[in-house]
């Protein structure tokens, strides 16, 4: 994507009918470390790659519990993700206060999408630089949604976002037809396999990934490291030792320098339409 004269303001259309600032925000999502989500009829699993900036620092939290029945995984500007998680939690609490019932996931994602849309139509704002995978449970079963900075949202059987997510998507596309009937444990196994795909040879251990589950009879919870490691060992999927490819841009660096050419400039179709 090249810099041009229509990309300074979010409120400026390009002659081709695109809002470049929004598209640049979606680039920020692609630069974040991977997050994947998948669901069966009764359970939804979120998993993400946790890369720390250095050995001295802690991992960034990318999975947040929003309510007992909803959780979210983010990719992109983690700070934006944190703020949106706080908004989602607040909405759930207020709905629960008024109606004494859990906020249906579908309602929450629409509110989130509308909130994102506002930032695409105000000259004094910027779009949120974070993509959210919202996993939740309601009366009709488990759901997985993807909310993007453009204000669009989609429901998915399985999806992956962030850097090297295409590898995970390829894996998920092969397996997704079996997901609706999968058991909880198989779903987690597939999530870990998908995460491994994004690591491209690096060893999968519980210190580089986080997994969370929500399902019928199970409140949203993040699995602890020991449990995840045990699952990895059990499934024998840790893979070969390989030097970690160091070129992946960390999430915090996703600011306005969008023309670093991280993601290949592909089709002319505006990404928001996909």
């Amino acid at each position: 994507m090249f810099r041009n004269q229509y990309d300074t303001d979010v409120t400026t259309w390009s002659p081709a009918g695109r809002l470049f600032q929004v598209e640049y925000a979606m680039e920020a999502v692609k630069q974040g470390s991977a997050a994947i989500g998948l669901r069966s009829k009764t359970h939804a699993v979120l998993a993400c790659v946790n890369k720390a900036n250095s050995e001295l620092s802690s991992h960034q939290r990318k999975i947040f519990k929003v309510d007992d029945h909803i959780g979210v995984a983010i990719a992109g500007l983690t700070a934006d993700g944190r703020v949106l998680s706080r908004y989602m939690r607040s909405e759930c609490i207020n709905y629960g206060y008024t109606y004494e019932a859990p906020l249906p996931v579908g309602r929450l994602v629409v509110q989130l999408a509308d909130k994102a849309q506002v930032c695409t139509q105000r000259s004094w704002k910027r779009p949120y630089g974070v993509g959210l995978l919202v996993a939740g449970l309601d009366e009709s079963g488990a759901h997985l949604y993807y909310n993007c900075p453009s204000g669009n949202y989609f429901e998915y059987q399985a999806f992956a976002i962030g850097s090297r997510s295409q590898a995970a998507k390829t894996y998920l596309e092969r397996k997704f037809e079996s997901f609706p009937g999968s058991s909880r444990d198989d779903l987690i196994k597939d999530a870990l396999f998908a995460i491994r795909e994004t690591l491209q040879g690096e060893k999968l251990t519980s210190s580089v990934c986080t997994v969370a589950v929500v399902g019928v009879g199970e409140a949203f919870n993040i699995l602890d490291q020991a449990t995840v490691q045990a699952l990895i060992n059990e499934f024998e999927i840790s893979g070969e030792e390989a030097p970690a490819t160091a070129s992946v841009a960390e999430e915090g660096a996703g600011d306005a320098a969008a023309d670093q050419g991280g993601a290949a400039a592909e089709e002319e179709v505006a990404p928001m339409d996909i």
Binding site: K65, R86, R89, S90, I93, N94, G96, Y97
Partner: protein, 223 residues
């Protein structure tokens, strides 16, 4: 010029009595289950006790609509706390929150007379007693509500707390065992039921200790 008076009141008193006793490693919180209005009984089976956190239970008498609203506000605030701190609120923290929440409505108060019971971070029983606008104090035992005037002198006799002014500070918790404390509470309610028309039907008792929560229920006179 005589002052004009309102022809309606936003408040009603639904009666009832609440008691809590703190022990060395347990806490007993109890309330009767009668809900009244005027001289009528609305129901014989209404719980005045609410679990605010793993180790905090609040029993409230007074205007139950305000009590319900107060319980909801505190529960929502606790959810926010859990999201932000990744842990449950301690009982003393909840005590302060309750006080602040009550004072927030200093000029249109929650008509709620509360007793907060639970375990502190050392596992010792703690009881906090409140007035309608949030003035509170940690004590070894307390009674609130229509039967409080009948129960408090009896508890004073059985459990007399050391003065909080003493030095060195003495523990306010009772040396009684858990079973003795539960029995004492049942006796309190049985007595209050005799003379207070707003107390009766049954008493709901919560016992909180290191092993978790236990419920007990005892029938009281229905007249």
């Amino acid at each position: 010029m005589t002052k004009e008076h309102a022809n309606w009141s936003p408040y009603d008193n639904n009666g009832g009595t609440c008691v809590a006793i703190a022990g060395a490693d347990y806490c007993v919180i109890a309330a009767d289950t009668r809900m009244s209005t005027g001289y009528s009984i609305l129901t014989r089976d209404y719980s005045k006790i609410c679990k605010l956190a793993d180790k905090s239970f609040m029993a409230s008498s007074g205007f139950q609509a305000d009590v319900k609203a107060l319980q909801k506000v505190l529960s929502s605030r606790h959810l926010i706390y859990q999201h932000q701190h990744n842990k449950q609120m301690s009982c003393p923290a909840m005590a302060q929150l309750l006080s602040n929440t009550l004072y927030y409505k200093r000029f249109f108060p929650y008509y709620a007379f509360n007793v907060l019971g639970g375990l502190d971070s050392e596992g010792k029983g703690c009881v906090f007693t409140y007035d309608a606008v949030g003035s509170y104090e940690r004590v070894g035992y307390s009674a609130q509500g229509s039967g409080a005037t009948l129960i408090t002198p009896f508890l004073d006799n059985q459990l007399k707390s050391p003065s909080p002014l003493l030095l060195p500070a003495k523990d306010a918790v009772t040396p009684l065992s858990e079973a003795e404390a539960v029995d004492l509470v049942k006796t309190c309610f049985a007595s209050a039921t005799e003379r207070d028309i707003y107390t009766g039907d049954s008493v709901e008792i919560i016992i909180l200790n290191a092993n978790g929560v236990r419920h007990e229920s005892e029938q009281l006179r229905k007249d």
